[in-house]
Symmetry: C2
Subunit: 370 residues, 2 copies
């Protein structure tokens, strides 16, 4: 690893680790939750507020940003950090997942993906070389190798074939990344729900060599037990001294379960998207603020959280804002949900240091799925 | 006037006045601009941020709040101030204007207006007695008498008939208000664009006696010159020692022009609504942030304004947010526009104290309409 990018495990609790990823733009405390800033904004949040909640890093979506406003434009404007007024670390995905789920008229082959923008129909190409170029133009601190997210369900043969393509793309990604100074490159383990394929994928990626290793292709419908089983069979094959990132996960219980199985980094749209649809994560479980039961409830969402959105507004008011489709409802619920998630990560890190993560997981089991 | 509600003129510049309205919930520096908080929220703004910009008072809409969440519900929850987390003064309109512009199947007669909610079709009554009851249930600091907003254009006879109805409603409003302690009641001058009718209306209202006097029925299509002429012929007939409020006004040039003619208070959806549609008020005029000319403009909206939204984000980024329909775009542009308006009011107050308001009006003529 380059000296400007390092990972140190500072505490262990079973397979769980707490640590620090050092980057030129600042430290990332792990286990870390990365709020999703799809199009250059964590939706309905000021960047300064995201930071105050304890986020050390946010995620940007390569697919969205390459289409609008365009990677070359962001580069001309000084890069994504300056553009979105977020001077701290940024991880960008490769674009591979969303080009398959959002774009139109896509065609995938060994070379890469050709597709049309879902915004204006314009033609684009995404291959490992272009994905690296786009992410470097954005100025991302942690860059993801281009992969194909294996659909669920897939047969062993389908998952094998898809994983092998992702591994060839990982090698091309590494070559195109060309050890860009000040940036880190993560490989992505694929292989569906088949432990043998995951092990092969991890082995190939370790041979190529990356700054960190992601587990991709999960949280796509396989269910929590299958996801946990796959993570559990994958992490032992990843290097101890590199961060591990479970992509697109998840609910609080998913995060705690994955940390127990050795994962260090997470991202998910759940706290932000839920906030915009009136859902609040609380110690009482998930509350749907549209429900009439909140209409005259004077209690705040969670007075114990050090967050104005959680503390200074009644559930009755939030119910009114959500029912009235007021922007302030999205703002306050997103703010609260991100506060809840960052507080969860803080508790996870503290519990690992105290050797009490299993206890925390038990105590959280209700609220995580409530 | 009750001791807990007073108005003192502290400086004059021609017909313009600077002063202070004292209320139990705090002072209001005049000339004052009241951000509009229609449904219990200044849209896309945190209440604390509205306050930090220098707003001493916000406006709430009786029509919206009586329909959702309902005045009785807000009263049970401790009143509108607590509900929306705004402990400072609130003025509520009477509901008369919006019941005519928004409701369905309305029927107006001497008694009042019966109508159906535009939200759920439920039947409602609004008359002077109910308007006072609703505004007192909300806990409003400044309560408006119920009036009929005379349509534009109207003949002299139509405007006369409409004004006379409003005057009878003003008398019933005063009787129903019953000198409620800690609250102020404002009457509303009507009479269309006919100075003779405005004078009669002002005279009738002064005989009834109110804590302040509004000028209603303007900014409805009559044009700036006609509005200024009507204001100019009305304010001399209003008591010197009571605040004067020009309802629903306006653009920066409208506000400065009305202050020059003796008006003290204003409200308008322009800065907030424009913010949500991508318009920014700046010293260069009104900028439409959708325009492609901003796509690579690294300048902030106005680095001289002491507001993060005006200073910390490039026009290129705001253009991207508006084009992408991101909530953060509405948040930042509303924030900036309210900062611009409150800075305008600050400059107006300072100019009156310095005897230089006419100079400011000249300097503002471009940016006001730009």
């Amino acid at each position: 690893m380059f000296p400007e990018f390092s990972f140190a495990v500072t505490a262990r609790d079973g397979a769980a680790r707490a640590g620090i990823i050092r980057t030129p733009r600042g430290d990332i405390r792990t286990p870390a939750f990365m709020p999703v800033g799809t199009a250059g904004t964590v939706k309905a949040m000021l960047p300064g507020t995201v930071r105050e909640l304890g986020a050390d890093i946010v995620l940007g979506n390569t697919y969205h940003l390459m289409l609008r406003p365009g990677a070359e434009r962001i580069a001309r404007l000084g890069g994504l950090h300056k553009f979105m007024n977020w001077p701290h670390p940024i991880l960008t995905d490769s674009g591979g997942y969303q080009v398959m789920s959002l774009s139109q008229l896509r065609k995938i082959d060994e070379q890469g993906v050709t597709f049309r923008s879902h915004i204006d129909g314009s033609p684009h190409l995404l291959n490992p070389e272009r994905s690296m170029e786009v992410q470097l133009l954005l100025g991302s601190d942690i860059i993801m190798a281009l992969d194909e997210c294996t659909p669920f369900p897939s047969t062993y043969e389908e998952a094998d074939k898809s994983m092998r393509l992702s591994m060839r793309w990982a090698e091309r990604s590494k070559a195109a990344f060309a050890d860009a100074r000040g940036h880190a490159l993560f490989g992505i383990v694929q292989g569906g729900v088949y432990p043998a394929l995951r092990e092969i994928s991890a082995s190939i990626l370790c041979d190529i060599g990356f700054h960190g290793y992601a587990i991709g292709g999960l949280a796509v419908g396989e269910g929590r037990e299958s996801m946990f089983a796959t993570v559990e069979r994958t992490t032992p094959h990843l290097p101890e001294d590199r961060p591990r990132y479970l992509m697109g996960v998840g609910k609080p219980a998913d995060i705690v379960g994955a940390v127990l199985r050795g994962v260090d980094m997470f991202d998910c749209v759940l706290p932000t998207r839920s906030g915009r649809t009136g859902q609040a994560f609380t110690s009482e479980g998930v509350l749907n603020m549209r429900n009439a039961c909140h209409a005259e409830d004077e209690r705040p969402l969670d007075a114990a959280l050090d967050c104005p959105a959680s503390r200074d507004y009644s559930r009755a008011y939030l119910h009114h804002l959500v029912k009235s489709k007021e922007i302030l409802g999205s703002m306050l619920l997103t703010w609260h949900n991100l506060a809840y998630y960052q507080e969860l990560m803080h508790r996870i890190r503290q519990s690992i240091k105290a050797g009490e993560l299993a206890d925390l997981a038990d105590r959280l089991s209700f609220e995580s799925d409530g």
